[in-house]
């Protein structure tokens, strides 16, 4: 088991963001976290990457308490694509993706030829080869997001946490990035946990869904089994119809009202 989360709680002052959450995440699975705004999805991501510590409960990575890892050890195991990614200085796209290799490099050694090859290959796989030498501050939102995603991929970690990875992307590039993440899961038995707003994309790419409401787990399990119209009604307060779409070989949701 990769992640074992037992009874964690987290609150901002008096507002409880996460309540008694339990999760067990396996290697080689793609998990989609879905739920309405403010239900604690991003807080869960922050807790899982060690950026925040739970008020109570336990969070174990590979059987070890998450807090016992050093920052650098964690950076070699977990890569994060955050929801917001300010870039304050004009780095080139290649320089930025190379930062993903920092956790693997000794402090004073220059990047090796292998690092450079990996960075260029990763940028190419994210369809970003056309702007490797451009400044990230000059790229469009979608281009920048691909570079940020490439940086996380270049970190080559067994766990990939994505916080709305497709928020700024057109549908073509959204499909491309989810495909790349799914490849990681299939080929390297990675664990991907992605916060997603598009339920149909989640159904298509995720092996398991984690539905959240008010900081609690509302439902979890294999994608098609866990998603029922009653649960969508409970979590999102919207009527929905679920049908199978043979073209993508997955269940798809139509929102009725």
């Amino acid at each position: 088991m990769v992640f074992k989360i037992t009874d964690i709680c987290y609150s901002y002052g008096s507002r409880q963001a996460i309540r008694d959450l339990d999760l067990a995440l396996e290697a080689g699975r793609f998990y989609a976290v879905i739920g309405p705004n403010g239900c604690g999805k991003t807080t869960l991501m922050d807790l899982m990457c060690g950026h925040k510590r739970p008020d109570s409960g336990e969070l174990a990575l590979h059987g070890r308490d998450l807090a016992s890892y050093s920052k650098r050890e964690l950076a070699r195991r977990i890569a994060v694509v955050p929801q917001e990614y300010p870039v304050n200085f004009p780095y080139t796209a290649r320089e930025m993706v190379m930062m993903g290799r920092y956790p693997h490099m000794p402090r004073f050694s220059a990047p090796s030829g292998q690092d450079f090859a990996l960075v260029d290959a990763t940028l190419a796989s994210c369809r970003a080869a056309g702007f490797v030498d451009r400044l990230v501050t000059e790229l469009s939102g979608g281009e920048k997001q691909r570079v940020v995603f490439a940086r996380a991929m270049a970190q080559q970690t067994p766990v990939l946490l994505l916080d709305e990875p497709c928020a700024n992307l057109d549908i073509k590039h959204a499909l491309l990035l989810l495909e790349l993440a799914a490849d990681r899961v299939r080929q390297h038995r990675a664990t991907v946990v992605a916060v997603m707003h598009d339920i149909n994309l989640a159904l298509r790419y995720a092996d398991e869904l984690i539905l959240m409401k008010d900081g609690r787990k509302a439902a979890a399990g294999p994608a098609e089994k866990s998603l029922k119209p009653e649960i969508i009604k409970h979590v999102f307060e919207v009527d929905a119809r679920i049908s199978r779409e043979p073209a993508v070989n997955a269940a798809q949701v139509t929102f009725v009202r």
């Binding site: 070699r76 977990i78 304050n88 200085f89 004009p90 780095y91 930062m99 402090r107 400044l135 000059e138």
Partner: protein, 355 residues
């Protein structure tokens, strides 16, 4: 949306050691040239012979050179020249780190109120005519003032989640405003001694001794090494704390550690030379626009560029201008308009270029 022009790209990707050797060579050349300039003219090769004999200890190398030339170069000019270079380099490194941590283009080594604190401390020492430590009493008071201000600012800005840059800048501004009112009050109280105070505040490298230069070297060297040690963490910090933390940076501990380190470096500079503005703001900006924002390159290149810049400025006021101008005034008078020019040209060129 212009593609970067070719010269710019080459400088960005040229090996770092080659850039540093070139800059170090230029600096050595400048030091030697500056040592020969002034009221007592000494030839370039005579300076070379004097310096090598002083460094290696072979006294026969300096034979046949007038004793007055030797005294002027070794005892008077070299400490001042080395102090200028070290202060310029230290302020530039401090500015680069300040801008990297606070993610603010206006940040400079004095942003956290270090200069106001130092000025306040020095004003008190000058006003009360403190002389218990001889020549070191004013620098000591200045340093204590700077360090105390830094502690107050850090205390004000601290919150549960560590230090956020807007809190730090705001606290720095508030404390500096209070202190500058205090300095005005001291000036008002100083009556006829106000000129000493004003002159100190303008910054000067005149009559620096080997002890000053040694102290500066002892602070600049280790301080710069600490900054270089954390250069990759600084790169990651510019992607935001959350991302930096997920990539192995102690995002809560790094900013206060580095801010204290570079503020103390700046405080030592201020306490020895007074306030020399614009070097710490200008040099990192220029270096970044030429060599790119990678701190592994930015910090060492800024050190040498700042050293060269302040050395040239100091030599101009010491040996070229008919009357010696306070160095702080000269750097602001020349640096300010130049900065405006660079800033405007960048605005015209590529919008959204960062800074």
């Amino acid at each position: 949306m212009s593609t970067p022009n070719p010269t710019w790209q080459t400088l960005r990707s040229c090996p770092l050691w080659r850039q540093l050797i070139l800059l170090a060579a230029v600096l050595c050349l400048m030091v030697t040239a500056a040592a020969g300039m002034g009221h007592v003219q000494v030839g370039f090769f005579e300076v070379c012979r004097l310096l090598t004999s002083a460094i290696t200890g072979f006294s026969d190398l300096a034979e046949g050179i007038a004793p007055i030339s030797k005294a002027a170069v070794i005892e008077v000019r070299m400490p001042r020249i080395l102090s200028a270079a070290l202060v310029g380099g230290t302020l530039a490194v401090a500015g680069a780190v300040y801008q990297g941590i606070l993610l603010n283009p206006l940040a400079d080594p004095y942003t956290l109120g270090v200069s106001s604190g130092a000025a306040f401390g020095a004003s008190i020492a000058l006003l009360l005519n403190v002389s218990m430590l001889g020549g070191f009493s004013v620098p000591l008071f200045a340093f204590v003032g700077a360090a105390a201000t830094l502690m107050v600012v850090m205390y004000l800005a601290a919150s549960a989640g560590g230090y956020c840059s807007s809190n730090l800048i705001l606290s720095g501004i508030i404390v500096a405003a209070i202190l500058s009112a205090g300095i005005s009050f001291l000036k008002y109280m100083a009556d006829e001694r106000v000129s000493v105070l004003v002159f100190w505040l303008m910054g000067s490298l005149a009559s620096k001794t080997w002890a000053d230069a040694g102290l500066l070297a002892a602070v600049a060297g280790p301080g710069t090494l600490v900054c270089v040690f954390f250069c990759r963490d600084l790169n990651l910090m510019s992607l935001g704390t959350r991302t930096a933390a997920s990539m192995g940076v102690s995002a809560h501990r790094l900013p206060p550690t580095l801010l204290v380190c570079v503020s103390l470096m700046a405080a030592v500079c201020v306490s020895i030379t007074g306030i020399i503005g614009f070097v710490g703001l200008l040099v990192p900006h220029l270096v970044r626009s030429v060599c790119g924002p990678d701190h592994g390159r930015l910090i060492p290149v800024s050190f040498f560029s700042g050293a060269i810049l302040l050395l040239v400025a100091d030599t101009v006021t010491r040996a070229v201008l008919p009357h010696e101008l306070p160095i702080g005034v000269l750097t602001a008078l020349l640096g300010g308009p130049f900065f405006c020019y660079v800033f405007r040209r960048r605005q015209m060129g590529a919008m959204g270029h960062g800074f």
